[in-house]
């Protein structure tokens, strides 16, 4: 059994490969455009995310699965995606 909610703020960068989580917020501070692009690609709070692959040098960029899509993005952008432990998805 794992606790349902932990009050910790983590980002996608802290996830291990293959680990799934639920997006809790998209950080728009300092760059509204970046946040908007992330929303356009399907990132939003309440959506599940999983880190699939990391780039060959320094783990940058990342390939993540969001919904049914796989998206590649750089670490600087991924740092804007806050996550929380996986919510029970209504499958």
């Amino acid at each position: 059994m794992r606790p349902r909610y932990r009050p910790v703020m983590t980002t996608v960068l802290t996830l291990r490969r293959g680990e799934r989580a639920t997006i809790s917020a998209i950080d728009a501070v300092g760059d509204e455009v970046a946040a908007r692009r992330l929303h356009e690609m399907g990132f939003d709070d309440g959506v599940d995310i999983e880190v699939l692959h990391r780039g060959p040098v320094g783990g940058d960029p990342l390939a993540v699965r969001v919904g049914n899509m796989t998206v590649a993005l750089r670490k600087t952008l991924a740092a804007r995606i806050r996550v929380e432990p996986l919510r029970e998805a209504a499958e």
């Binding site: 908007r36 939003d44 060959p56 320094g58």
Partner: protein, 630 residues
């Protein structure tokens, strides 16, 4: 011409009665939009440009079941009506009816990936707010079914208030139904309004709710895309796979193109002989033979290489691998301030910088795009090969170094030299003239798909056509001008000066000689560099002309390789190779850069910076080689 249709909603503009209807194909990238466009219009396509901008306009004719014809225009793929690149701006401006020189479409066909409904429906909701008549194509429906996804199409249609047609573009399924749904919508005298900007998050949530409501059973995402990605995106296996693919690609480009290139060369030569047989030896014959045929031939002869390279690039794009290559390369590109997306145009530039520069349109950040354009000519294009081949054959001994031919190694070294030069140039440019915020990298990785023969064929035809039109036309004009410069004025009778040296081109070359003397170039090279500006490979022909015109009669028969060996020192030859890695950018490339950047400022800058790089590289090579006792 493009007056807003809102002014007279009840009285149709008399113009529209005579014009065919215009429908626009809109959708997210990777929704299979181009495939659907190809399936709907077949070979009845027209490729041009939107007036005033360099974005490619693709349109085709679609016949409706009632016999009417519709002009279908394939708008650039985008995720929203908030554009990130010039391409995406065209999509927004077209559907809003504000694109200069274009009228607003009478209807929209929104293309949606059935396997990615949650995300793609958001864009449909955004488009719906425009108030245009609209039909939704639920594309790649077979893939959704194969994954085990079941969608309630009727319910989706009811919720959206729009007709929804399942389609499979690659198998031509659903096309007739789509046309049948489109036909009655064209008769609606729509009252389109320009909707205020949508709150993307609200639309996103609405889209997810709709998608979840109409999805009766959720399937598993394709397993083998994930399995292949485990290799293609692996930190070690991924770069190795990319290296292997590039190796096979370049091997094929050179090995497979050799035979057809021989045919084309023989064909051009035969035409020249034919011309000599039917025409008297006049200035007109010389113009046709040495100007037109030689000039056009110089371009056409590279067509086999360019077609093979394009074929590989199209295969990599359509299969979905190209984005993986961009993923692998992104970190390296980021190191010099570029973006993984720049990898694709740079790869095309190995065939010819012209299609490479045209392919930079997909890069959204303007500074990033400009940098990529500026370094594209540093990729060794196939036009430099004849120059390399002749000089290497003349000066590099055909010995083996550790089982590998030295000549081949030098050739490879020149390619590597160009790539390294490009990385250094990008690094320097991003810190000076194209300084700006670090570009980001955010790209969807599509599912792997088998390329479709029809799409490959149409893509190859259009790219080859664009290359021939842009490069061919320009080179034809330039070679004619150069022919005039190299032929006139004629030396007076009895003057022993060779004709080329006496001509305008020869005089320009002689005037340039002092400029090039410090880097080891003699007057013959300076003369050959002038026509070499038109097209790099012409420099070889020009050298041939200079030396054959200069020599006595016995020397005349000597092949160029022998002549060069006896009249150039090794440092001069090496300096000439180093020069060609960087500079003499062809005029056709500069003209394309002018088109793409909208002025002479950047082509002028490119000319100067490449000239300086080439001068320094050739000079350094010359003096180092001399110091080492060459």
């Amino acid at each position: 011409m493009n007056a807003p249709a809102t002014l007279a909603p009840l009285l149709p503009d008399p113009d529209t009665l005579s014009r065919p209807f215009l429908a626009a194909l809109v959708g997210n990238p990777n929704a299979g939009k181009t495939s659907l466009f190809n399936a709907l219009t077949g070979s009845r396509q027209k490729v041009g440009n939107y007036p005033g901008v360099t974005v490619e306009r693709k349109s085709g004719r679609l016949s409706l079941p009632d016999g009417r014809m519709v002009e279908l225009v394939d708008l650039p793929g985008t995720y929203s009506l908030n554009p990130r690149s010039p391409d995406e701006a065209v999509t927004r401006d077209m559907v809003m009816g504000v694109q200069a020189g274009e009228r607003r479409p009478d209807a929209i066909v929104a293309v949606v990936d059935a396997t990615n409904l949650r995300n793609h429906l958001r864009f449909v909701l955004e488009l719906r707010r425009l108030g245009l008549p609209m039909v939704v194509a639920l594309n790649m429906y077979d893939l959704a079914e194969r994954d085990g996804t079941r969608i309630d199409v009727a319910r989706l249609s009811t919720i959206l208030g729009l007709p929804v047609v399942p389609t499979v573009a690659v198998r031509r399924r659903g096309l007739a139904e789509l046309a049948a749904e489109l036909a009655p919508r064209l008769d609606h005298a729509a009252v389109p309004e320009i909707a205020p900007e949508a709150d993307i998050r609200l639309l996103q949530r609405e889209a997810r709710v709709i998608a979840d409501t109409v999805t009766l059973q959720r399937g598993q995402a394709t397993r083998w895309t994930q399995r292949f990605d485990a290799v293609a995106l692996h930190p070690l296996a991924g770069p190795l796979l990319l290296g292997a693919i590039l190796f096979i690609m370049f091997q094929s480009v050179f090995a497979l193109a050799e035979v057809p290139m021989g045919w084309l060369e023989a064909g051009i030569a035969a035409l020249q002989v034919q011309l000599a047989a039917v025409m008297p030896d006049t200035a007109l014959r010389s113009l046709l033979s040495d100007g037109v045929l030689a000039g056009v031939g110089a371009v056409v002869v590279f067509l086999p290489q360019i077609l093979i390279l394009f074929l590989f690039i199209i295969l990599l794009e359509q299969s979905g691998y190209m984005v993986r290559a961009a993923f692998i390369m992104d970190r390296l590109m980021a190191g010099v301030g570029l973006n993984g997306r720049a990898f694709i145009p740079l790869l095309s530039s190995f065939a010819c910088a012209i299609p490479g520069i045209m392919a930079t349109r997909t890069i959204d950040d303007p500074k990033d795009r400009l940098t990529t354009i500026l370094i594209a000519p540093l990729m060794t294009c196939s036009a430099r090969l004849p120059v390399y081949t002749v000089i290497i054959a003349a000066f590099i001994p055909a010995t083996n170094v550790g089982g590998v031919g030295l000549q081949g190694l030098v050739m490879l070294g020149l390619y590597v030299f160009g790539v390294l030069g490009a990385l250094v140039a990008a690094w320097a440019l991003r810190r000076t003239v194209t300084k700006g915020p670090t570009p980001t990298f955010l790209i969807e990785m599509p599912k792997y798909q088998w390329p479709v023969v029809r799409d490959i064929g149409i893509g190859l035809w259009q790219r080859a056509g664009a290359f021939l039109k842009r490069a061919g036309g320009m080179i034809l004009g330039i070679t004619v001008v150069l022919w005039v410069l190299a032929s006139y004025p004629k030396p007076p009778a009895g003057d022993p000066t060779p004709a080329l040296q006496y001509s305008a081109a020869g005089r320009i070359g002689s005037a340039l000689e002092p400029v090039f003397a410090p880097i080891g170039f003699n007057r013959e090279i300076a003369i050959a560099l002038v026509p070499g500006l038109a097209a790099r490979e012409v420099a070889v022909a020009a050298l041939g002309t200079v030396y054959s015109l200069q020599g006595t009669d016995e020397d005349h028969a000597q092949p160029l390789v022998e002549r060069l060996r006896s009249s150039w020192s090794l440092p001069t030859a090496l300096a000439f190779l180093a020069w060609y890695v960087f500079a003499p950018q062809c005029l056709a490339t500069l003209a394309v850069v002018r088109r793409e950047t909208g002025g002479w400022k950047w082509p002028a800058f490119m000319f100067v910076y490449l000239f300086v790089m080439a001068y320094v590289a050739a000079g350094a090579t010359y003096w180092i080689a001399r110091a080492l006792g060459g």
